[in-house]
Amino acid sequence: MAAVVFFVCAAAVLTGALGVIAGRNPVHSALFLLVTLVSIAVLYLQQHAALVAAVQIVVYASAIVVLFLFVITLLGVDRREPADTAHPVQRVAAIVLGALMLTGILVLVHGNRWVTGAHSTRGALGPADSGNVQTLSRSLFTDFVWAFEITAVLLVIAVVGSVVLARRSGHRAEAPGAEIPDSTDAEATSA
């Protein structure tokens, strides 16, 4: 049963990933990305990572994909662009390089026993059937609390930065004239 779930999800993951890079329309790419992300969430569930799977659905499959779709519709680029894919030589070189990289990784995975070393150095996963929210949050708020606080700073910087970037519209301001003092304020702050 686990094998069936794995192979079905693996096929969905790879199909979605190939659809992302093959889709001519960015909206189709975003929807294929959704397929990949949801399938990966199922694989997380299969590996006793229930909370990670939930966060994957909430953050990736919802927030990030919706953000992509918002930007696609906002920019109106949801039509086929003529010169989207690379030069044929570039494409062949990219595929050859990708095949080389995949071969290298597979040789590494095959030739070594990576899953070695001390088990449960930061704590075990916890009971497999009841989820591991408690275990994970205990580790997150004790061992990794410093990194956790840093991510808060990172998110604030990212949000403020994206607002500033999206508001600076240059000389062609589509927004009403009231926006101009704000953008100069933002420039002064960032300078």
């Binding site: 192979f7 890079i21 990572a49 095949a99 990576w114 449960s120 997150l140 930065g161």
Partner: protein, 108 residues
Amino acid sequence: MSAIAYPDHITATYYLVLAAMLFTIGAVGLLVRKNTLVMFMCIELMLNAANLTFVSFANALNDISGQVIVFFTLVVAAAEVAVGLAIIIAIFRRRQSVNADDVDLLKG
């Protein structure tokens, strides 16, 4: 293929191979596509491959830290998408295009 057809136990190696393939598809897509939005999606694919590896190792080693790291990767991915899409919007306002080849001022 017949060697791995319906094994009774899915080991970590299966997930690692899947993550490697996903990462490769993302990397090739990043090199092949010129639409910056699709390039961002390819970066998401690669980040997801890394996350899948982390979760696989967390499961194989029965260690919670692999799953905690996935949260930090998620946060970095969210921040990267927010800033990156804002940059794409800013570029689009100037150039009316999301094609990476149109942003070539540094090319000289």
